[in-house]
């Protein structure tokens, strides 16, 4: 009967109830998006770093991977040193560079990665084959769109541009063997990959044995943190980053987003709470006579409170469920906008849906719905029956 009464009370002013639910839905959508953003960016980054199974990255000392143009010298020596540790599994050296390709009288500039195609973790081949020979290259769709080249074409690739002499340190004719999606590539970024030895040679004598980064898979039974500490200790030229240390760096850099999400999430939760409290209070004020009569007939204070709290929770839950859907839609839209955020890999999701985020939002809103119903319900249930009936009769 309590449920029946709560339901009928909500239906009594269906338009008002619907509007309140929509208000809660909007607040929920915002809350969900903020919860998704506060943890999603980090989780998305974590998934991205782990997507190819490399748990450890060695970058030039004091830098993050590809944060600067700095390189690590004596790459072959470092690989040999790493091989002495039995816990180290796969080692994937990467050299980053800018390449220039003449196309119909203009020069197209692109980023390029020198990799070992057998163990690389930087791109996914979409079609064609890996650059297994020294004169082969794979490119992404942005590169193809910009240059008009296609798989099978031979292109002239230069690197190491000297602006004073207007010369390049090296030029090669390379055959495009495949289309690739670059995992860490930013939106609209032109990207290519070739053998690391090719890019090293094109870089000239000074870069003949350089690498920008080493990505390492640790053996299954080994502790990543132990290997990280060992690498930092044994190889003075590098900073070793595990997923966790990388995420700590990310946390530091993205604390602005998290704080923003926390503030906006709290505001939306509070707005939802105030909305439901206002609606339930208005509804209760309109029904003071009925509630007092129920009390006079013997309906307990607890049941009156329950009925009104149920009304608050019902509005909140219905609004919250609609809001979850709305939140997912807006998150997708916002994600599409933020995908162009400069310097971040396109694969990063600002708003990553996690069931825990939805449950968190739903739980917080349910609590706020209960809290929203408590004040008006206690007020209604505590009215002095005789006095209220007399005042109602006079009114």
């Amino acid at each position: 009967m309590i449920l029946r009464l709560a339901w009928s009370s909500l239906r009594r002013h269906s338009t008002r109830t619907l509007l309140a639910m929509l208000g809660v839905a909007v607040a929920t959508a915002m809350l969900l998006d903020m919860v998704m953003m506060s943890s999603g960016l980090r989780e998305s980054f974590r998934e991205l770093l782990l997507s190819r199974g490399f748990q450890l990255r060695l970058a030039p000392r004091g830098t993050l991977p590809f944060d600067t143009d700095a390189t690590i010298e004596n790459a072959s020596g470092i690989i040999a040193r790493l091989r002495t540790n039995p816990d180290v599994g796969t080692i994937s050296p990467v050299l980053g560079a800018t390449i220039h390709v003449p196309v119909n009288g203009r020069v197209v500039t692109s980023s390029s990665l020198g990799v070992d195609p057998r163990v690389q973790g930087d791109y996914e081949l979409l079609s064609g084959k890996d650059p297994m020979a020294a004169d082969e290259i794979v490119v992404n769709d942005d590169f193809i769109r910009e240059t008009g080249a296609k798989v099978g074409d031979t292109i002239e690739v230069s690197t190491g541009y000297n602006p004073q002499l207007r010369t390049y340190s090296g030029t090669r004719r390379l055959v495009i063997t495949g289309r690739a999606r670059f995992i860490y590539g930013a939106s609209n970024q032109l990207a290519t990959a070739m053998q690391i030895s090719t890019l090293q040679e094109m870089g000239g004598q000074s870069r003949r044995d350089d690498a920008s980064l080493f990505m390492i898979k640790v053996r299954d039974d080994a502790r990543v943190e132990s290997v990280r500490e060992w690498a930092e200790r044994e190889i003075p030229d590098v900073s070793a980053l595990s997923i966790e240390t990388a995420l700590a760096q990310v946390d530091q850099r993205l604390s602005y987003f998290r704080q923003l999400a926390l503030i906006l999430g709290t505001v939306s939760l509070f707005v939802g709470f105030l909305l439901v409290t206002t609606l339930v209070t208005v509804s209760v004020n309109e029904r003071v006579g009925e509630i007092t009569v129920m009390r006079a007939l013997g309906v307990s204070r607890a049941h009156v409170v329950q009925q009104i709290v149920i009304e608050g929770v019902a509005i909140t839950l219905a609004g919250a469920i609609a809001g979850l859907g709305l939140g997912l839609i807006t998150a997708r839209y916002l994600n599409a906008i933020l995908a162009d955020f400069p310097g971040l890999p396109v694969a990063i999701d600002f708003f990553l849906f996690q069931p825990r985020a939805a449950w968190t939002a739903l739980g917080l809103l349910t609590l706020s719905g209960i809290a929203a119903g408590i004040y008006p319900s206690f007020r209604a249930a505590s009215l002095p029956i005789a006095t209220t009936l007399r005042e109602e009769a006079i009114a």
């Binding site: 009569v293 006079a296 013997g298 309906v299 049941h303 005789a386 009936l389």
Partner: protein, 227 residues
């Protein structure tokens, strides 16, 4: 009849209200008893304390001083929780303005006190139908209050008041909002209820209703007076 055996026994009941600086003495020491099966009308001019007295003997208000017992239980000493539980099963209320819940049907309104008392849904539906039939509204059980006339609403309110088979039926101006013909139907229904054994106390200005009662208690300025 001796103290303690009556359905209602009031002794030196007084009730004061504080309105700002002013203290109003609504009841000034009222003593009376109402026996099992009695039909009592409390009459008197407006503001004489009739409704205040009804509230006290219905356990929805507490006296400033004095004692009131209903079926031997001290209503003036009950906690709010005990008084609520007591009203649910021992007292039925009928109000001038009916106060049916507008979102419930006639039958659901009658079922409400039974549901609160924990009666099973099927049992209370059956009893609600019987009570609606008793007050002549068997055909209106699915109607909402807005679809019923004033007299019909009051009859539903009476059926609701009887739902938990109370020892005492209290009515505050039950014909106050009704026209003469409909009021007469309600008076007739009260007569029928009393004839069937229900103890009734009505507060009224309606001479016809008061005359239908077996006993009248006249009040003036918060005290019981001789007619």
């Amino acid at each position: 009849m001796t103290w303690g055996e009556a359905v209602v026994a009031a002794r030196d009941l007084a009730r004061d209200y504080q309105f700002g600086e002013e203290r109003v003495h609504a009841l000034r020491g009222v003593t009376f008893e109402i026996g099992e099966g009695e039909y009592v009308a409390i009459v008197g001019p407006s503001g004489c304390g009739k409704s205040t007295l009804l509230n006290l003997i219905g356990a929805i208000d507490k006296p400033t001083s004095g004692h009131v017992e209903i079926r031997g239980q001290a209503a003036d000493r009950m906690s709010d929780r005990d008084a609520t539980a007591f009203r649910l099963t021992n007292v039925g209320f009928v109000f001038q303005r009916f106060y049916l819940l507008p979102t419930l049907t006639a039958r659901e309104n009658v079922e409400l006190p039974m549901a609160e008392a924990g009666m099973k849904a099927a049992d209370r539906a059956q009893r609600a139908r019987e009570l609606l039939a008793y007050v002549g509204l068997a055909h209106r059980e699915r109607h909402r209050p807005s679809q019923l006339s004033g007299g019909e609403q009051q009859r539903v309110a009476i059926a609701r008041a009887l739902s938990n088979n109370p020892a005492l039926l209290l009515a505050d101006e039950p014909t106050g909002e009704l026209d003469a013909r409909t009021g007469a139907e309600i008076i007739s229904l009260f007569g029928k209820l009393n004839a069937d054994g229900t103890t009734i106390v009505v507060v009224t200005h309606d001479e016809e209703l008061a005359s239908s009662a077996g006993r009248k208690i006249h009040m003036r300025d918060g005290v019981i007076v001789d007619p």
